[in-house]
């Protein structure tokens, strides 16, 4: 296991121990965040799927209605009927915070309040199927906006989850082992040093005793 390049000093050891503590706490927090994000994400994806199926079903219906309208009206007549839209729709974008992720929120507003005021054409040259198609399209618009909002949120959340996961992994598999290893190394190094000192001291003591003994023997000779 890789190790940090540090001076095996006691000061360094305290510093590293502090870092390890922080890393452990960070790891726990990130892990909690990841789990919570995951929960939110799964919820969102489930709702998203439901909505998506609904929107797709409605769009399919619009498509088939248009097809019939298209079949009974000539191209020019159909295009003329739809060339000048009657209702104006504007979308406001704001953001919402989910677990420190900023997701977009779409709000739409229409120019006129009358829900039935969406048909921009006359009746004599158009088919009734066109009404159904345009009506369903108008109905599907809020859902489509919601869907767009959800999909973007899901995407952002996924990114955030990925980030949190990477952080957790980095802490768990790199930083924390590294720190523990280094701490272990420093501790060992320090212990080693200590032992060396003790040995040295013992050796010095032995040498001093030897010298003292030699000196005593010499004195005795004279």
């Amino acid at each position: 296991m890789a190790m940090l390049r540090v001076n095996p000093t006691r000061m360094e050891l305290t510093r590293l121990k502090k870092r390890l503590l922080v890393a452990r706490r960070g790891h726990k927090l990130q892990k909690d965040k990841r789990d919570e994000l995951m929960k939110q994400f799964l919820e969102l994806v489930r709702k998203n799927k439901e909505l998506r199926e609904k929107v797709e079903k409605m769009l399919m219906q619009v498509h088939s209605n248009f097809l019939i309208a298209r079949a009974v009206m000539s191209n020019e007549m159909l295009e003329e009927a739809l060339m000048f839209p009657k209702q104006d729709v504007s979308v406001d974008v704001s953001t919402k915070n989910i677990m420190s992720v900023n997701v977009p929120v779409f709000d739409y507003s229409t120019k006129s309040d009358d829900k039935a005021n969406i048909y921009p054409y006359g009746f004599a040259t158009t088919s009734g199927e066109l009404d159904t198609a345009v009506g369903t399209l108008a109905e599907v618009l809020p859902y489509m906006l919601e869907l767009a909002q959800m999909e973007k949120s899901a995407q952002l959340l996924a990114q955030e989850i990925e980030k949190a996961r990477r952080r957790v992994n980095a802490l768990e598999h790199v930083l924390i082992p590294q720190l523990t290893e280094t701490i272990k190394y420093i501790t060992m190094k320090l212990e080693e040093n200590e032992r060396g000192t003790i040995i040295r001291l013992m050796k010095v003591k032995d040498m001093m005793i030897e010298q003292a003994r030699k000196a005593a023997a010499q004195q005795a000779k004279y």
Partner: protein, 333 residues
Amino acid sequence: MSDTKYAYAVGRIRSMERKLLDKIGIERMVHASSPEEALKVLMDAGYGDSNARVSDAFEYERILREENKKVYKLIKEIAPEPEVFDLFLIKNDYHNAKVILKAEFLNQDFDELLLDTGSIPEAKLKMMIKERNTSDMPVRMKKAVEESIDTFNRTGDPQVIDLIMDKACFQHMKEMAVHSNVKFAKDLVEIMIDTINIKTYLRVKRMNKSWDFLDKALIPGGRIDAKIFIGKLEGPLESIVDELRYTPYGALLEEGIESYKKTGTLIYFEKLCDDFVMDFVKKAKYIALGIEPLIGYLMAKENEIKIARIIMVGKINGMPDDIIKERLREVYV
């Protein structure tokens, strides 16, 4: 005995009626294995240019439009009083006028939507509307254009353009039919107005609009008084059936509304309306001399083009054969 001057025209029409697609031809189109096959049946029936075989099924729209043009050209060529047939062309003029007006209000170019089958050349019409020089226009159209511009400027609502123009178009048609002294044409226009009004009534009712909107959307000049529709806007659908039971439209309404209530769509109702008009037009088959067979042929051809379009759209989009068949209109021959 002015009908005898139609002898030549009727002779030619009778010959050409043989080439109209009959039930068998349509069946062949519906059951064609591919859009290209279906188009080939059309080409065999004399559509398009016989020299250049068209292989691309998506060309069908152009072919149908050309066929339409060809028919009008032929009728105008052989008819002793070609101006009577302008009656069937002015709807294209009104369509062009709508496109020109809307394009102007939108400040965009929509020239590709203009039809070249009107009684007034589309470029001329465009100039007239653009320069507000309406003195050469038929009175009815002139009034409608002026009213559209005025109302749009006040309300900014594009729908009023269509409503005013549609109304003017059919009133204009009726005026021309009355003026031409052809009872068949007058009856035909009246039946068209009535069927359109019935459809409009149902559509407005479905949109939950108010009676004054319905009043704006209905076309005067039919046999059913607009007041009946306005009076029956509220209340159940059956009340209109009861009201009109003893008119020629009784059976049509009864069957159509039943299907509308069952399916919630007007597809079948629209088919019934077209068939109703066709049934009337079919009377022309039994008239030996006169303008009627010409009108009949014209309507038959328009109907055939409609059928061909339904089949081609269905084929290209892979609709099942029986669904296509449900949508098909009755044929003339």
